[in-house]
Each structure stands twice: as C-alpha cells, then as structure tokens.
C-alpha cells in the first residue's frame, strides 16, 4: 500500500503572530515557517505504518510556494520516500484555499493511486479544517476525521475519533482519508543519517497548471484582527471570595 501525506508550510507555532497593518492578513515576511504540526503527526503515522510492514511507500506532497520544498525535505528527513511539490503561488501571503488544494490532491491521487491518505485535521494558520473532508467528497472515498488512533485491518481502517463527547471508533473501507488529531502520536526528530539522505530522495516539481486547477481565491478576507487582549486577573483571598467573584461575573 502506498500512503500519501499532504503537508503544509505554515507559520511556526512558536512565532508570535502579527497582523499586517492594513488588516489584510498575518505578516509572513521574514517569519520562521515550519511544517504544520498536525501534518507532522500524519507523516509520523505513515512512517510507522511503513515500519510495521503495513505500507510500502510514503509520498509527501505540498501545495503552495516554492519554499514549501523545505517542508517536503523535512518530511523526507523524517522518513518519507519521495515528495511532490506543486507550486501554486509565488507569494507566501497567497494562501491556497482548501477546495483548490483538494482538487489538486484529487489529481495527484489519480496519478499515484494511494491506498490511504493521511492528513492533518487542520492547518494551524487559518484553521480551516476542510481539505481532508473536501478531498473525500471529490474522490468519493471514506473518511475518518480527528483520528487519535489508527489501525489498518485488511482492506479497512479502524479509526478512533476524538469527538466532543469522548471517543468514537469507526471502521472505514479503504482507500480512505484519515485526518489526524494531536494525540495520535509524537512525531520523531529527523535522524542525522536521514537528514543526509533527504537530499538524494526524489522530489518532483509540478505546478497547479499541470493539473489544470484554478487556484484563484474564492473567499474574500474582509478583515484580520488581533485577538482581544486578556484582561489582567485578580488575586482572591479565600474560596468564599472566589465564589462571590464568580457569581458577580455570572460564571456560576
């Protein structure tokens, strides 16, 4: 089985996000970028499947600016076998929307014929949480979202999903799309030998045009603003005072 893992290059989770002065978005100029943490978990899971003999090949794919190549190299250094870069934008501030990403991925799937697609449940930059679901609809494949556990059982995938009320375990027919949540695994560090090998692994470069997908934005960003600053806390002297204050604030 081949596993396809889409990975997105996003603002590093340690970076303090700043909104551009004109409110058109987040300032990404000269900011550290890394692989979306949920995608890292997806890459890790794919490599574990390979190590467990349940997958033969792990292919990472990224859609965005040319620099997403670095993100793919990270996936290769973690252990992916090869990578596909689809250049679809020449400005980091041009975010490719989930539908366009899903359409391109659908074409990649046509070419690659993977048995499983593992992707992050969402990207930490715009938190869309849509690509996996849209791809599932476009392909007509089963989906298991928010996975905190994954087991491949013959031609089915058993997915434990983190839902509001607790955990839900479902069995889906493969080929399938599984979007991964935070607790699925702890991604490994890239080992030094794998870092050195990453450069020699194949990385194909394509464009959105190669797949005939129009990536023109369909959504208009009206305004981006900083979250409201949290008000300072207060110190309370006793439980009684705490309860009184909470009542005052209408919290209990």
């Amino acid at each position: 089985m081949k596993v396809l893992v889409p990975v997105k290059r996003v603002i590093d989770y340690n970076v303090k996000v700043r909104v551009k002065a004109d409110g058109s978005g987040v300032d990404l100029a000269n900011v550290k970028m890394s692989m979306n943490p949920f995608d890292e978990i997806a890459v890790e899971e794919a490599i574990r499947l390979k190590e467990a003999g349940k997958a033969e090949e792990v292919v990472a794919v990224s859609i965005g600016v040319k620099q997403a190549q670095e993100t793919l190299r990270t996936a290769l250094a973690m252990g992916a076998d090869r990578a596909i870069l689809v250049v679809a934008a020449d400005d980091v501030h041009h975010d490719i929307e989930p539908l366009a990403v899903a359409k391109i991925l659908a074409k990649v799937v046509e070419e690659e014929q993977p048995g499983l697609i593992l992707c992050g449940k969402q990207a930490i930059d715009n938190d869309m949480n849509a690509t996996g679901q849209m791809l599932s609809a476009l392909l007509g494949w089963s989906q298991g979202t928010f996975a905190s556990e994954l087991d491949i059982d013959g031609d089915s995938a058993v997915v434990t999903r983190e839902v509001d009320g607790g955990l839900q375990t479902i069995k889906v027919k493969m080929p399938a799309i599984v979007t991964v949540d935070l607790r699925l695994n702890e991604p490994r560090y890239a080992s030094l030998p794998n870092i050195m090998k990453a450069k020699k692994k194949p990385l194909d470069e394509k464009t959105a045009d190669d797949y005939g997908v129009d990536v023109t934005p369909r959504l208009e960003i009206v305004k981006t603003s900083e979250p409201v600053a949290r008000a300072a806390g207060i110190m309370v002297g006793s439980v009684d005072e705490l309860v009184a204050k909470l009542k005052e604030a209408g919290a209990v």
Partner: protein
C-alpha cells in the same frame, strides 16, 4: 564566499534545537539546584542521541561517526550551547584526538567512544601549569618496558563520568637556545588503573553539574600500548586536534547568547515602566541593538573560521579571534540582559543569573582571552620579525 546554510544544515540546526528544547531544557532546573545529573536522565539523553545518529557526529563515517564537517559540527554545538553543559555532555562528542588511536587502541578506545560505550575526558591543566602547558610537572619515566606516571592534574571536566582519560605528561626535556623545553607524551589511562585516582575537584559557579575533577597519579604503571600517538609527540597530537575545541567554545557562546537575547528582547517588549514598555526607551532599545549586532558578528566570525578548516586553510588566528570575541560577547550580552531585567534578573527564580555565571568560564577555559590575543598577535607580528 558563500553565505546561507544548505537545506541539510538547516535541518541539522532545527533538529538539534528541538532536541535541546525538549530533552535538555526540562531537566535544567533540577541540575542547577542539585549540581548533579540524575543517571537515568543522562542515560536517556545518551540513548536518544545514539538513536538519532548524532552521537559522535564529529567523527568520520568509517569509524561509525556521522562525518560532519567543521561548519556543520559548529552548528550542532551552537544549538547545544543553548542548553545546560552538564546535560548536553551526554549528547556525546568524544575528543576527536582519539582519531590518533592505532592498532588495538582502535577497538579499546576509539570505537567504544564513538558508540557511546566508553566516555572520555582530556587532561592537560595542572595546579602549577594552566596557560603555560609546557610548564607541566606531571611526568612519566621509563621503568623496564613500562612508563611510570606521577603528578596531579586539576580542572578536568567530565572526568567524573569518564571511563578513560587522555592525559598529557612530560617525558623529558630538550635544551633549546631559549632554555629547556619539555617533551610531552599523550597517554590513555583507564579508570581503575592502579596508582590512578579521580577525585572531586572544586565547585565552579559556572555550569553547575558539569564537574571538574582532580586526577592523581602515584607510581601509575602503564605499558607502551597506552601511548596515544608517538612518544614525545604530545604537542603534535595537541596541535593536530585541539584547535577545534576552541571553535566549540565560540559557537556555544553564540547559541547561549541567542537564548539569553530572546529573553531580554521579550522582557523589553513586555515590561512596562513609566506607562510604556521599557523597550520604547532609547536607553534600552539601543542595548538590544548592540546585543544582536555583537551576537551576529560572533556567529559569522565563528562559522567563517570553521569554514576555513573545512577548506583546509590556515585558521589558527581566525579560531582564536572567534573564541576571544564570542566569549567576551557572551559576557556583555548576559550582563546587559540582566540589566534589562532589572532586579528580577539577579534572582534565581529566573535562569538569567545562571547564564551570567556560566558565561564567566568561557573567557578562561580552552585558552584564556589573553592567550587568544597572544595567538592572534603572534600570528600577525612574527612574520614581520617582531
């Protein structure tokens, strides 16, 4: 001249950085409070480093290392420099002087050191011989086919964890026009060899938990098989391998300075006095500007020196400049960072006072600032006959 790192180098940096943040930082407070590294923590760091293929990454591939060049190794050390010396000692980088091993020394010392099975320490300094290494009193004399060692070494880092020590001792004296000059030989001495004792040294305020020990040799008998390199060839061994440890000091200073800088920068942006962030006062903002300028300068100076080594160019002076500048830069940066934090900077609730203490030794070990200035100036003046 080429600036910028390759993708591999960037990945090496980010991997070691994450490793230090996740595997080293969480244990730092404990080591700082107790002055000890818990054995299980040490073992875990070592095992993880081995798994990641970073253990002994400064050694060539044909002996089981990762074959990193000087520049790449400097990048690894730079990121390690952010973390506690006591803890990152177990992210093992054995002395590359072990490449001088010959015959069965390779199986007894070099390979086990690279595999992380046996740890080393290196001993030159004596109570009476610091900067003046050749002034050493520790000596070995022939007795039958053996050598008999006597004398004391002190300030020997990592000897508490060492399975063997690489020791420099005097094995004779030559008369030269400038007076008598000691001949020096390098020995490999196993812990537990009769006549060899490793005992607790002084308590250093820099790098708590990274202990320095006292070694005593009392009629310690060693066969010829323990000589590393040639008899009387100790200086050749030193010159061939030891320059690189000064790059390590320089680059670790850069890494540590960047960690401290981030704290100072964030504090300056958040701390308000007189109704605004203190970073808005020119007195503070200009300090920030000077700090980052010096850090970047030290970084480039150090990487450029490492790059010269990779290219096989003479680099003695450049390495000395990097070690001198980076260690003095770190002293200024840690001091300024405390200043920016005001009184809180001095309190041991914050890690800043630790970095300030830790910075102090960097101007002393691996050749004091004065010795570096000596090396730099001799390199320039000697060709002119001065």
């Amino acid at each position: 001249m080429q600036f910028g790192l390759t993708e591999e180098q960037e990945m090496i940096v980010s991997t070691v950085r994450s490793f230090v943040e996740n595997e080293i930082y969480p244990h730092e407070d404990l080591v700082e409070r107790t002055g000890e590294v818990p054995p299980d923590v040490a073992e875990r760091i070592k095992q993880k480093t081995i798994e990641l293929g970073f253990y002994a990454c400064n050694f060539p591939e044909n002996v089981g290392g990762a074959g990193l060049g000087h520049l790449e190794f400097a990048l690894v050390e730079r990121e390690l420099g952010r973390g506690s010396m006591a803890l990152n000692h177990f992210f093992g980088r054995p002395q590359n002087i072990l490449m001088a091993c010959k015959g069965d020394q390779i199986d007894r010392y070099l390979l086990p050191a690279v595999r992380g099975e046996r740890m080393d320490a290196l001993a030159m300094t004596e109570p009476g011989a610091g900067s003046d290494v050749r002034g050493m009193k520790c000596s070995a004399v022939r007795d039958g086919g053996d050598w008999v060692l006597n004398g004391t070494k002190h300030f020997i880092s990592g000897a508490d964890h060492a399975d063997f020590v690489i020791v420099f001792v005097a094995t004779g004296e030559d008369m030269t026009p400038r007076g008598p000059k000691k001949r020096i030989t390098t020995f490999l001495v196993d812990r537990g060899t009769p006549g060899f004792t490793i005992r607790d040294g002084y308590k250093s305020v820099s790098h708590r938990g990274y202990k320095n020990m006292i070694l005593e040799f009392d009629d310690c008998r060693l066969p010829d098989a323990q000589v590393l390199g040639e008899v009387d060839g100790g200086f050749a061994v030193m010159n061939e391998w030891l320059y690189a440890t000064r790059i390590t000091v320089a680059t670790m200073c850069v890494g540590r300075a960047r960690r401290v800088f981030d704290m100072a920068l964030n504090y300056a942006a958040q701390r308000e006095q007189f109704g605004q962030p203190i970073g808005k006062f020119q007195g503070v903002s200009f300090q920030i500007a000077d700090m980052i300028t010096e850090i970047d300068a030290a970084d480039l100076l150090t990487l450029a020196a490492a790059d010269r080594l990779d290219k096989g160019l003479p680099a003695n002076r450049e390495i000395a400049s990097a070690k001198l500048y980076a260690s003095e830069m770190l002293a200024r940066v840690t001091d300024t960072a405390i200043q920016i934090h005001g009184g809180m900077g001095l309190m041991d609730d914050y890690p800043l006072e630790r970095f300030w203490r830790d910075a102090r030794v960097e101007r002393i070990w691996d050749g004091t600032s004065e010795i570096q200035r000596h090396i730099i100036s001799r390199d320039l003046l000697r060709p002119l006959g001065a």
